[in-house]
Assembly symmetry: C2
Homo-oligomer: 389 residues x 2
């Protein structure tokens, strides 16, 4: 029996994880859950999965939940400290880190520092403080299992093969909803259209990241730290069908790859029960029905965000945290239709250009850069909003 904590249980990864828990009651029990402010869903999850403790980021939402759960045997915490307490629950064996955005950094690091195994769906901890996370995990012998389909594919393609023989990691990218759109049209594309992902059903933020290819830029940064491989050995290929989830090239010319239908339950369950695979009852992969796989080089002119990801790694230190924060602000502004689609990259570029890079020696360094970049990006968004008004 494995006791799990889910940081971000009401999101897409969180609910998929709970689906797996429900399907394999002999393997898993829920020790703790956390959410942002979705009281209704968390309350429902408490009734179904009976965790010993939960936390909400929003203190007011936590108050509401306490009132609703009176008489139930569940502790209800709040704020970033509450989230971190859940991540450190003594009974927990594995913490699924599935909070969207930078808010996952502190509780995920808390889980690692408490010696918990971590299944990481949240890119930002590795993007904002990759070296620090990696060092803390190594110091405590903590295994970090990637949950992102690309990183899980790389992890699986490395299992059973010698690290020393690796030549290159190749991340696949779907190209997102705007892959075929001419630059001029991209200038005017509305969120509604940019939110139509061809293969994956995901949250709004990550779908826009997929449309800009920033998602892949962040994944390059994440891969660099998760697998301790320099950026020069990490490539990206556009594969529209999203069946090959990523590949690892070895020095004898062999390339190992993991494939599958787009279903997040595969990488989630692998991270949860590694090295065992759970019988998820999916239909077999029918390659003949799929018919073909296509491959394209990424287009850096229409999708500058991928290059910004590589650039942030090259500059290092606080620069990836800056990239990430500026992107969050810019995407939020785009979703509110305050800036245009192409402005997202421009806001990030402007923020990075203005940033005074420092080393990330402590968590505070990353959080400082994050705060600074949010403010700067906000200014740049406002300038663009005024400009276009």
């Amino acid at each position: 029996m494995k006791y799990i904590v889910i940081l971000g249980s009401t999101g897409s990864i969180g609910t998929n994880t709970l689906d797996i828990v429900a399907k394999f009651p002999d393997q898993f029990r829920v020790a703790g859950l956390t959410a942002g402010s979705n009281v209704d869903k968390l309350e429902e999850q408490i009734r179904t999965f009976k965790p010993e403790a939960v936390a909400l980021s929003d203190p007011k939402a936590a108050e509401t939940l306490r009132a609703r759960c009176r008489g139930q045997a569940v502790r209800i915490l709040s704020g970033v400290e509450g989230l971190s307490d859940i991540a450190r629950l003594p009974r927990a064996d594995l913490v699924i880190s599935a909070i969207v955005g930078g808010a996952g950094l502190v509780p995920t690091l808390a889980a690692i520092q408490a010696g918990k195994q971590v299944a990481l769906a949240n890119k930002e901890p590795m993007v904002m403080a990759g070296r620090l996370m990696q060092e803390e995990a190594r110091k405590r012998g903590v295994k970090i299992f990637p949950v992102d389909s690309e990183h899980s594919a790389i992890f699986q393609s490395m299992e059973g093969h010698r690290r020393e023989d690796i030549q290159r990691l190749i991340l696949t990218a779907s190209g997102g909803p705007l892959w075929d759109m001419p630059l001029e049209e991209m200038r005017h594309v509305k969120p509604k259209q940019a939110l139509k992902h061809p293969n994956w059903k995901m949250g709004a933020k990550i779908t826009i990241d997929s449309a800009t290819l920033m998602n892949k830029g962040l994944e390059v940064v994440e891969a660099r730290w998760l697998f301790d491989i320099p950026a020069s050995q990490i490539g990206v290929i556009v594969h529209r069908e999203s069946i090959i989830h990523s590949l690892v090239e070895y020095r004898d010319g062999s390339v190992m790859a993991q494939l599958g239908l787009p279903d997040m339950r595969t990488p989630i369950s692998y991270a949860m029960q590694y090295p065992e695979r759970l019988p998820l009852g999916q239909p077999p992969l029918d390659l003949a029905a799929i018919g073909k796989f296509t491959f394209h080089r990424p287009d850096h002119e229409r999708f500058p965000c991928l290059g910004l990801g590589y650039e942030s790694l090259k500059l290092g230190g606080t620069m990836p945290a800056t990239l990430n924060a500026a992107n969050e602000v810019a995407v939020a502004a785009y979703l509110e239709e305050r800036i245009g689609f192409l402005d997202i990259a421009a806001v990030i570029r402007g923020t990075m250009d203005a940033h005074q890079r420092r080393e990330v020696a402590t968590l505070e360094d990353a959080l400082d850069a994050d705060r600074w970049a949010r403010e700067k990006a906000g200014e740049l968004v406002r300038a663009r909003t005024l400009h276009s008004a």
Copy 2:
């Protein structure tokens, strides 16, 4: 330093193996070599690689070689006993079994019985006497490393993952040189055309097997015994580009695959130095330049030989040995233009229908079936030759 023996050193796999030995002189030494009757090439290999002993199947060729190598420190043996003695050389750590056709069975079994690790490029031992080979290897703790690109891909896709979680092996097939040819044209296709393989440079026999898809039928039989997986869990998909060399599907929906440019040195060197990978200096796999992968279901009407492979496994016992022998006779007759292309399957079908299946309890049982089937297939070839004359 690993001492190797190559059974079939003058063929395509044999010379590729020696290329690797030449490239990595600190890793490998040649203990012994064998060939059929190619005295010139074997003599050259003796001078370059200085094996302690060699053997030729053909006693007359061995005489010639002895005369030419007078004064050199090399023992020269002959016949099937000579080949088996080379396979058992005390100094040998690894035996590369690369003889084409059924002639490889006896010396390969001799290598296993002498406790040598075996790199198996020769399908026939597993096809003719798979259960026996598997049992002998298990009894002696001998590891058999597949060299066929498909089986090597499956082997590599199983490394690091739990056997219990395997759902299906998926062998890829190029479809061979006649994949797009209508049935009526296939009736009249000349060997010259059938020998034009789109992706791989191989010997004549195996290229015709690729054109009939019998190659894949034999590989299904081989996979069944190499990996101890029932035929019902082995699938075949036509993948014209031959970049994905094969795949393994697991019960969580994950499919692991091995990819690479068509270069036999990759699977050969992996089998030679497992689990280490040798830096072969190949160009990186450029998926964008390749552009696309296509997948098709095999066409059993135009390519009945694949189904015959499955059928032979289902009938079991001596039936796969019968299939294999009849195929060798039919392909030889086709290459000599004594029968037409579509007659190959008809001759095999006729031989299998006439065969009284028995269990393969000993090597003799397999060899008996082989002899019987060659005779029977020969009769059927002659009947067809007369018929068409």
